[in-house]
Amino acid sequence: MMIEALPGINDTVFHAPYLLGLVVSGLTLGAIYALMAISMVVTYRASSQLNFAQGEMGTLGAFVVFTLCVEHGQPYWLVIPVVMVLSLMFGAGVERGLIRPVERRGAHSVVIITLGLFLLLNAVTGIVWGVDPVTPVTPFPSGITDQWVIMAGPPRFAIRYSAVWIWGTVAVVTVALVLLMQRTRLGLSYRAAATNAESASLVGIPVARMRMLGWGLAAAVGSLTAVLFAVQARSMDFQLMSGVLLFGLAAAALGGFDSIGGAVLGGLITGLVEMLVPALFTFIGAQLSQVMALLVIAVVLLVRPYGLFGSKPVERV
């Protein structure tokens, strides 16, 4: 085969079980990035801002879930909605209390506020829950051997239960969010406020409250992302979301900051690139493999500066 003769190409990738395994892990990671990207997009559409503290807010939520389930013995299916509602209130509160007051006064003030919040929440989580990793709670067995074996191998190809759980949750959340945006009066108001705040307020839409809703929804989705990623990683500490935040941001940029569909696709592509590209090309050293996905995204953005589905802003002079 021609391709095997090429230097720097890892031809074991072309064994079906190995390749499928990589694709499955890529899609699992990608689904998590997609969820993070969705929460970025929801924030961005509401307020044209990015929340760099989104990951840490999610980590905080995941630790609250951990405490309520493990230390207080509450049922998982009760705790998750409660924490999502708490996150929604927290996110809305951050928008009202921290973002809105500074936004009008300085061009990049919001960046500093969210970076400050990032440091603060990260440190608070480290202080309250310690720096040692803990095992997250899951509603079903999700150890490394809890999986459906599809090809006995060797090499063998299997899908972990947690992967299916993650895909299912991401699909449900995405569909629910899209239905909320497209099929309800609330969603219509949100979209109107996002598209043209002045006109929206003229027809009686509470624009400020829609912004709070955007930040709140994003925070709820962010907490769920952290809970899912902890399941995937099988351990969590206060640094849980640092990588997810970054790749979620990159995925949102790839899809276009104002497109939910773009965020999903961007997330899946980012996950696949992260798993497949370094596995395929051996000349990419271990050190560079982490940033490979970001470099690929940078190149895509050079060709399409507003992402795959982002809309190009029309400016009046």
Partner: protein, 372 residues
């Protein structure tokens, strides 16, 4: 007390300016002579960081190109100086022009394609470079130059020469050297920014289409901002080597990127003085946070280090909350209590000019200054 009012550029204003800069120079010399060594390390670091923030300010504050990636040039500059000094035996000052050319060139190569990308997209893309830098520095193929994960040490002998009349320690001389370099660079940049260069960059930042319509070449000015900004970031990194003689993969990593951007926005983006204050903020706020955290009575010594970031984060939020334009805007308001500077615009429209040219000037200005 009634505030004194002077007209910008008048003799009284000039006198006050010269006196203020004179006082600053005297203060620098006094610090170099009388402050203990362990504090002089901080002062010298402020000079180095201030130059890097000045570079970032050119790109972000004046050019409006929001990028995190200047940290990579900061690290690159540090590596170039460390390698030239320790492996090739160059003198420290001779490495600075090389650093400037090196970082400027790479800034151009990486910046040219980035001209297409705008706003928050650019911020995200620039993060690729922030994260790539430590990985590249650790690459096996470069270990001979960079020293891999262990980094590279470059101790530089730096004592005051015999002709220098004051008795300063080595640390004092380091601080004086860096302060002079920083002063020269600040002087050059602030002069450039007061001219056509600054106006072109600000027009670009406020409204790209408007700037282009007014004859500002977008590509040329953006690329120039990238080149000069990268060169300054590199020089800042190189300057820090004189004080902190170890360069590692993290010398250009995530924390440096965060420091630079927080320094810029805390100091005051889009002002030259803000860059200097930003340099000071980068050095002292973490130390101040650490002191506050270790002084808190309800914390045991194990939790104090983690609490540093709580204080740091809280300071960032509070400072931006209280002074949205950065420290410099706050200081300006304080100054206005005692001394007001009146800016007198050239009276173009009031003067009887021929109708045709008046129209042209008027429409250009409207296009350049309106915000989208």
């Amino acid at each position: 007390m009634k505030a004194l009012t002077v007209r910008h550029g008048s003799a009284a204003h000039r006198t006050i300016q010269v006196a203020a800069y004179g006082l600053l120079a005297v203060a620098v010399v006094l610090i170099a002579v009388y402050q203990p060594d362990y504090l002089l390390i901080n002062y010298a670091s402020v000079a180095a960081w201030a130059v890097a923030v000045l570079g970032l300010n050119l790109v972000v504050g004046y050019g409006g190109l929001f990028t995190f990636s200047q940290s990579a040039f900061f690290g690159l500059g540090a590596y170039v100086t460390a390698i030239l000094v320790s492996d090739e035996g160059w003198s420290f000052l001779a490495t600075l022009p090389v650093v400037a050319v090196c970082c400027g060139t790479i800034g151009l190569v990486l910046g040219l394609p980035a001209l297409r990308i705008r706003g928050l997209y650019l911020a995200v893309v620039s993060f690729a470079l922030v994260l790539a830098f430590p990985s590249i520095a650790k690459m096996d193929q470069l270990t001979d130059w960079t020293g891999g994960a262990n980094g590279k040490s470059a101790f530089i002998e730096w004592s005051a020469p015999v002709w220098f009349p004051l008795a300063v320690t080595d640390r004092g001389w380091q601080f004086l050297t860096l302060a002079v370099i920083a002063a020269v660079l600040f002087w050059l940049v602030s002069n450039a920014l007061r001219s056509r260069v600054g106006r072109a960059l600000m027009a670009l930042r406020d409204n790209e289409t408007g700037a282009a319509v007014s004859g500002v070449s977008l590509a040329w000015w953006k690329a120039s901002a990238f080149v000069v900004g990268s060169a300054l970031a590199g020089i800042g990194g190189a300057m820090l080597v004189l004080v902190v003689p170890i360069v590692g993969p993290d010398s250009g990593g995530f924390l440096v990127a965060m420091s630079l951007i927080t320094g810029l926005l805390l100091g005051g983006s889009g002002t030259v003085a803000g860059a200097a204050l930003g340099g000071a903020a980068i050095v002292w706020i973490p130390q101040f946070s650490q002191n506050v955290a270790s002084a808190l009575p309800f914390l045991d010594s194990n939790k104090a280090p983690a609490f540093t970031n709580v204080v740091y984060g809280a300071i960032l939020i509070v400072v931006i909350f209280v002074m949205p334009g950065g420290i410099v805007s706050f200081l300006r308001r304080v100054r206005d209590l005692f001394l007001r500077v009146e800016h007198v615009l050239p009276a173009t429209e009031a003067q009887p000019v021929e109708a045709e040219s008046l129209d042209l000037v008027g429409s250009n200005e409207r296009a350049g200054s309106s915000r989208g």
